[in-house]
Symmetry: D2
Subunit: 410 residues, 4 copies
Amino acid sequence: MNSTNKLKIFNDPIYGFISIPNSLVFDLIQHPYFQRLRRISQMGLSYLVYPGAHHTRFHHALGCMHIMQKAVETLKYKGVEISDEEETALYIAILLHDIGHGPFSHAMEHSIVEDIHHEEISLRFMDALNLQFEGKLSLAIQIFKGEYHRKFMLQLISSQLDMDRMDYLKRDSFYSGVAEGNINSDRLIQMMNVADDNLVIEDKAIYSVEKFLMARRLMYWQAYLHKTSVVAELILTKILKRAKELTQKGVVLPCSEPLQFFLQHKIAQESFDAATLEKFALLDDYDVMGAIKSWQFAEDFVLSSLCKMIINRDLLKIEMTEGKPQSEQLQQLKAQLLQKYPITDKEADYFVFKGKLKNIAYSKESVPIRILKKDRTVEVLEETSEQSQVKAMSKAVTKYFLCYPKVLLG
Amino acid sequence: MNSTNKLKIFNDPIYGFISIPNSLVFDLIQHPYFQRLRRISQMGLSYLVYPGAHHTRFHHALGCMHIMQKAVETLKYKGVEISDEEETALYIAILLHDIGHGPFSHAMEHSIVEDIHHEEISLRFMDALNLQFEGKLSLAIQIFKGEYHRKFMLQLISSQLDMDRMDYLKRDSFYSGVAEGNINSDRLIQMMNVADDNLVIEDKAIYSVEKFLMARRLMYWQAYLHKTSVVAELILTKILKRAKELTQKGVVLPCSEPLQFFLQHKIAQESFDAATLEKFALLDDYDVMGAIKSWQFAEDFVLSSLCKMIINRDLLKIEMTEGKPQSEQLQQLKAQLLQKYPITDKEADYFVFKGKLKNIAYSKESVPIRILKKDRTVEVLEETSEQSQVKAMSKAVTKYFLCYPKVLLG
Amino acid sequence: MNSTNKLKIFNDPIYGFISIPNSLVFDLIQHPYFQRLRRISQMGLSYLVYPGAHHTRFHHALGCMHIMQKAVETLKYKGVEISDEEETALYIAILLHDIGHGPFSHAMEHSIVEDIHHEEISLRFMDALNLQFEGKLSLAIQIFKGEYHRKFMLQLISSQLDMDRMDYLKRDSFYSGVAEGNINSDRLIQMMNVADDNLVIEDKAIYSVEKFLMARRLMYWQAYLHKTSVVAELILTKILKRAKELTQKGVVLPCSEPLQFFLQHKIAQESFDAATLEKFALLDDYDVMGAIKSWQFAEDFVLSSLCKMIINRDLLKIEMTEGKPQSEQLQQLKAQLLQKYPITDKEADYFVFKGKLKNIAYSKESVPIRILKKDRTVEVLEETSEQSQVKAMSKAVTKYFLCYPKVLLG
Amino acid sequence: MNSTNKLKIFNDPIYGFISIPNSLVFDLIQHPYFQRLRRISQMGLSYLVYPGAHHTRFHHALGCMHIMQKAVETLKYKGVEISDEEETALYIAILLHDIGHGPFSHAMEHSIVEDIHHEEISLRFMDALNLQFEGKLSLAIQIFKGEYHRKFMLQLISSQLDMDRMDYLKRDSFYSGVAEGNINSDRLIQMMNVADDNLVIEDKAIYSVEKFLMARRLMYWQAYLHKTSVVAELILTKILKRAKELTQKGVVLPCSEPLQFFLQHKIAQESFDAATLEKFALLDDYDVMGAIKSWQFAEDFVLSSLCKMIINRDLLKIEMTEGKPQSEQLQQLKAQLLQKYPITDKEADYFVFKGKLKNIAYSKESVPIRILKKDRTVEVLEETSEQSQVKAMSKAVTKYFLCYPKVLLG
């Protein structure tokens, strides 16, 4: 087909060019399910902190596929046998691994699609596509579900050092300008190998692995868990909760038809059927932000106030606290609020609340990062000579915060 | 104020950090009129070609202000006197120079806000802000309108080598990954000076100036006038035209209230009053794309077909032609189309049409780029020793194209 | 072999990693003839203008080989058949194409090895290596000499858009910090193809080709022909001439034994035998700069003065003139000099002299750059639609200058 | 002066442009003492591992001065008072802080200038320059010696987060291509302040500080202490030792006059007089490498063998060992060597030896890095919330190795 031939290459400021390996992958990229990812921001509302962070899940998925191509090339060069069918399956699996994300996924999962996780929805999409593409995605799905016998393949897609993490760290760092999050994916991939069917990294790259973990840790605290991003996302969660609450009380809020559907129905894993999937496939950032834009003029004080905060970037105050915030402090803030605003005690929870942030740079509970030593033996990262550094990164760090309207600042 | 202090710096992957010079500028950035630019993409639909091109007019405006700071610093270092008041005015003028852009500006200006240009709307916004800020924008407005006596100041904001062009070339190149569009703004600014009240560039930067013009030329042909961007924008224009046509016939199309307003009313320069400005200030990409998402399910065949093209990135075929496309060719294509689709002859114009693209890298009609020679005399660029190159770039290049549905491809 | 395994990858700040394709190439890189290139600066004395420009011919040769690997990969992907033997020959030919360069090659070729050009010496080295490697370089030599029937292979090594130019522009730009010289080699290579046995570029990369030519033109005027680099090189040339003159008069100047050899003998193409090659293979920047360091304390006033200029970066004044400098002006400057310095009229020519610089960005006399159009026909660059730009770049530009001691500045 | 005006700006691929703040600094840069740094490589023989690592101490010193300008700008912006005189003194002190380095400093300090450290020699140079510049360097010298009352000024020049470390990490990473060593100096400087006369970093940059420490740690193990760099440097040390040994026995080795001087004399701190300084000021990489090139043809087997290793990059084998290498192993290797080579038992130590490498990323013994908290109190880095990570980095890591000729490899 003529038009097919023309778009075999994507420009990418990070890798230069991303080329599409074959026509099946091309057709998947062209599919409306996948094109929808062009309209879903990778970093949600983080652009309120980092104005460049408007890149999409579409671009990230392509980036993952690109570095998967590099990884496959490296592994084959080192003698790991990967058949053409497996190769294509790896590209498909990584390309579609995040296709189940909705708009502002984290906020949605805590408000209107509470009972089903995005990985599960990704799988639903893959199954639907597999039907349409006559079974050509079966191996990819098998790998994705962890049911394929060659387990390093899953590790390439989902582990503590997978293509997903590499691309998102690199990409989020690039677009946001948080330079410290950049990682040397070239070197990490160059140093990959397979031993005993596990993905391993040659030991001369051990400092690059450490640096990768540090970069991830830094991106968490400086970007993903940046307090302004966090409060923006929490406000968004509360907006969606409030809208659902009002809708279910019978209030009609202007919004797109697919969003209306999710406000009206309670979707759980069992009830997420083919029709739901079709609705879900129509949802993207435009539905959510479009609604919020309308709702800033809603009659409901809670809803309109919260929406204006997002639109005008005039957020709640978020304050990091030494330990868990005290209940008395919350009560006091709420009391003040009730004097200022015409709201009920329960509604005050939309404006005054506490929470915590938690991150582990390297988890000893998950599949470990494995290091291939010069004598060809394998050690898990936390047992290598650099263990003290890794040990320090294996501790969960928890931080507490308190949110309240700026009018209460005194 | 506490919260003010905190956001004095923006991360920018291009310049590292952008700092806000003073609290007036800070307050302007915080204003909803300006925050709206966060929701307007700088490159419109170009992301359909370059998936990274999702940066916004907000970010571009900040970037312009940043390099204006560098330019002011350089000029002062070289002894050009610039008062504090003038300095602030320059920052405000460049910050707000594009505030009058609507979503997908080019398409809108050819469909629903036909009789008023974005510069004029920028001025309306500035006037409105000047009222709110008690006259503090007066000098900025004077400079912007070309009414201030020191004309180099306008040239910094709007000329063939201004801060606007420098930032957008650098930024569009960065985010899209079209590496050749990158320019050395550092060097260009470093080499600026003022002579006889004109902005001039020292002659040792003459090759950088040429390279700047080449980069601009390349960005036009490779990005702004990329045939896929062009056809996408034309489809968008036709969508908005069709929607207005239908609305005015009484059809009710679901869309946001501000967009509804512009579909219903014919806005000309005279009728663009304060109320219109308030509506306009609510419009952004979410209104337009949100509408297009809904309209893909509209009853009208023309409207829904065009909308689906954008949403699924399944555009009309665009074919560059040697000379102007022949009328017969168009007629023939239309005839074929009428056989396939249930549309009228007039409606066929929505799907089959021709057009042309035109660009001049350097215009001899506009204010020239002036070169400061070692003997302190000034020459216009086209008269320097490099004139043959510049002459070649001063010729307008015109290219012709033809658009039609892919189903007609044979 | 153990040691072979270890160094299969070079770090390169430009391309990330450079990998060595096979053990023959590895052994060539390890050879003392090639290791010598580690001690020969790519940009000669340009570091006196651009302090970062200390990269070597060794690094450039590796870089060329790397992009040759990319080009071969692209061409094979597009269906151009290239056998394993041809592939290796291409790598060897590009790796060794500059091996005949001496230290500060240009200055040497105008002083002490006047009658033989570096390409000829490269060939001598290749022949010598071919003997040592039992004929394994024969095909590479055939290609290099233009005697192989597939002419696009020579064009990859030596033409107006070859791997050599791409790497040196990119590398010289990178290390010197002349950002405008950077080119998009990724894109240019991605767009290469072969048609009628000629190397061609797809027409959608035509602006990248233009930009490449512009970058080269800019690098000439801003770096290679920068007036300070030029005067430094001319002083170096005169130092070596003077040293040869004195040596042949019987003066013994302290210097390394290989340099001594070239000062004592007049080497022409015929007399450049195997023994001469061995001496030449010992020469590098250390011999020349080491000698200049000693000679700043030489008795001869001319020699010591010129050497001090280089060592302390206190060069002759170089003045660009409108047309050719007038003889009277030179005579006058010389007359002044003779009053100040204890030198003869003839020796004054070492300090006061004129010259010219010449550059053509794109030569119509050489093998043209060929453009592959969408209809699969081929056009030479100067006949494409962008011809006015290319025409402007095809004109030779000549600039004149005059050099004299700063003490004469008045 | 005319020529002075012209070179007020240096191109730098890292920072864009480096400008010279005033004419005193300009004159210092022009001084032969400082120009000599153009001929001293920053990373010694590391180019044998990283072919791009040919940047010089000259460039590094300029880079340090550049970021010192940024730091001063930031601190003044935050209200720290710094007088013009202090500002200039800071630029001079950082510019000259490394002027006492000889060629391949580390190797020299372990062979021919054993009893005086490079900081001491820097001071000698500064004192000599202060004489020539009529006392204008007095304040800079005071700061450099730690005798000025404002101690944060010394911390900017020499501490665990000074301009020196920032520039060398950035520069060494850039030129070598070890991407992981890059640090965000912009952000670190942006976050600097002064509290209680100590240099402090605002706590929101704590992850950048950590990342800086990690980058430094990585650069040590991956570049400065890379085993190939280490063995090359040890061979160089042994070459110089052997040459001194032979010279003092009366053997005449061809080399430059200044190097001859240091081979003949034993220089200690007391005997390092003005005449010695003048000799030292003539020494650079060209003397050392020039000598090694000659000495590869020396009669002495030990000397010529070691020299050939460097010239042809055919080094001793270096093997990292689990613990300290056993004496028996060394004895055995020596015994084998004595059978192959015509050398004495003592001479065998030149070829077979052991050693260790040691590094601490962050030393608790030195002046700590201080963190400024939001409540304006100051904490030392190791006591902040991120302490576990820092603690891990405060442990000294020691690695052991063994070197021997490859012919013994079996």
